[in-house]
């Protein structure tokens, strides 16, 4: 039985690693933006470098992307174009499908975060205590879980052709408005207000708290908010999936 989960995850990883759209969008956006904003920009007035601060936020952005693309686009395409039916007619345990998508999100999330850390440490002079590096890495990668639920909800509702566009229009603005591209304090007040309603903002704040960077509100509230988003979207996905079983066919 465990072999099924292992095989499903292994094949899903191979499948996604060979899918250029996925590996490109997962790696390019966060690494490129980090190089532009975290490494190429001059230090802020007062000498504070952004390279360490932005490791937390672009790490969050990278994990969010790896997860939203794997679940959102992946599920929408497989559900909408008949592949999920083939799987559902087979003896595959349904949970194996989700476990495999989660394995891809966690693996690619971990790779993005590790690459960002290496860039920051080598070229950006980012320094932290070993325990801080480890904790930040773990928290960032674990962020794949609530975002996996959001992705699954998108994948369960969106059509196969519109899903990639929908994921992009959610992912990129959510990164910017959640303060993951440039520090939230640089955004206009009205956008800072909007940020509170975005899971990306809460994820970024948790990561920043580990660095000891200035954050807004308590960490516990951010954790609760992120868990809340995860649960609500898991529920949405559940309802959408059960309604999906009764579609019209010829």
């Amino acid at each position: 039985m465990n072999r099924v989960y292992w095989m499903e995850s292994k094949m899903e990883l191979r499948k996604m690693a060979r899918l250029k759209q996925y590996s490109m969008s997962t790696f390019c956006f966060p690494l490129m933006f980090y190089i532009f904003f975290g490494l190429a920009m001059p230090p802020l007035p007062g000498g504070a470098s952004l390279s360490r601060y932005l490791l937390a936020t672009y790490g969050a952005f990278g994990v969010m992307g790896a997860t939203l693309y794997a679940f959102g686009t992946g599920v929408a395409v497989e559900r909408g174009l008949g592949w999920l039916e083939v799987k559902r007619a087979s003896p595959m345990p349904p949970a194996a499908y989700l476990v495999a998508k989660a394995a891809v999100s966690l693996t690619f999330g971990a790779l993005v975060v590790t690459l960002l850390f290496a860039l920051g440490a080598i070229f950006g002079g980012a320094r932290m205590a070993p325990g801080q590096w480890a904790l930040l890495w773990t928290v960032l990668v674990a962020g794949a879980i609530p975002f996996g639920a959001i992705g699954l909800a998108i994948g369960s509702l969106a059509g196969p052709n519109s899903a990639p566009g929908i994921v992009n229009t959610i992912f990129l603005p959510m990164g910017f408005l959640g303060g993951l591209w440039i520090p939230i304090g640089f955004l206009p007040k009205v956008l800072q207000y909007v940020a509170q309603f975005l899971p990306s903002y809460h994820f970024g704040q948790i990561a920043l708290a580990i660095l000891g960077a200035p954050t807004q509100g308590s960490v516990l509230v951010h954790v609760e908010a992120l868990l809340g988003f995860g649960l609500v979207f898991a529920g949405v996905a559940w309802i959408a999936q059960s309604r999906d079983h009764e579609k019209i066919y010829g």
Binding site: V4, G82, V86, S90, P91, E246, Y249, G250
Partner: protein, 243 residues
């Protein structure tokens, strides 16, 4: 005991009555072809027998179990109409993955041979031709060494040569003792492969028997004429009922 059975099955999707009371059984070792025009309810009947849809009324069983049960799933295989199969897995990887779902699958090499995939097993699915793609789907249907196979329009869109190749592999499966439910709207396909034919029109079984019996019943020498006579007649009958 039949290997799969529909008893008094109806299926309604909102306003659409897809099946209006179907009795159908597939016996051990036979290939039953379910014939009908598009929208007649063929795919709905298959979806119910695969546990992908629940009947509105009536009962469906596969090996005496509910079609969605694990007991039913491990003893059957299915080739469904699918618009997009993941293209970045190799043929062999697709087969290895599906084989892992079953307790006693065929050896991978045997599945590859039985679906005529020798020589292309290391190609990515996305690099295959239409006929090769259908043979991979056939391989995924038989890799678990099932007793019963569902083939939903397996040769649609294939050229003559690919169609004949797939037919040969289907015949070989039946020869090894397997049972098959095949849906098709190619009458030639039913004539060539089926032991028994059930003609379905507007959600009802219009006729059932060997291809020869069906032809005799309608006084035609070609199954296509019999088919047109039956589905047309049935259509008129349905219209009368509606009036």
């Amino acid at each position: 005991m039949p290997v799969a059975e529909l008893r008094g099955v109806t299926k309604r999707y909102g306003e659409v009555q897809a099946l209006r009371g179907i009795d159908l059984s597939i016996e051990r070792g036979e290939l039953l072809a379910l014939l009908g025009p598009n929208g007649a309810g063929k795919t709905t009947a298959v979806r119910i027998l695969l546990g992908l849809a629940e009947p509105t009324s009536g009962e469906a069983t596969v090996f005496g179990h509910h079609p969605a049960s694990q007991e039913a799933k491990v003893r059957r295989g299915a080739l469904l109409q699918v618009a997009k199969v993941p293209e970045t897995l190799k043929v062999r990887e697709h087969i290895e993955l599906f084989s892992s779902y079953y307790e006693k699958p065929l050896p991978i090499a045997e599945t590859i041979a039985a679906a005529g995939l020798g020589g292309i097993e290391n190609r990515l699915f996305g690099a295959l031709s239409g006929g090769q793609r259908q043979r991979v789907l056939f391989a995924l249907a038989i890799c678990g060494n099932p007793d019963l196979l569902f083939l939903d329009e397996p040769t649609v869109g294939l050229d003559v040569e690919s169609r004949r190749t797939l037919w040969a592999h289907i015949r070989a499966f039946v020869k090894r003792g397997g049972s098959v439910l095949l849906t098709t709207h190619y009458l030639e396909e039913a004539d060539a492969l089926a032991h028994r034919v059930a003609v379905i029109g507007r959600g009802r079984i219009a006729a059932e028997g060997t291809p020869a019996e069906i032809k005799a019943q309608t006084g035609t020498s070609v199954l296509e004429d019999a088919f047109l006579a039956l589905t047309h007649e049935n259509g008129n009958a349905a219209e009368e009922v509606l009036r």
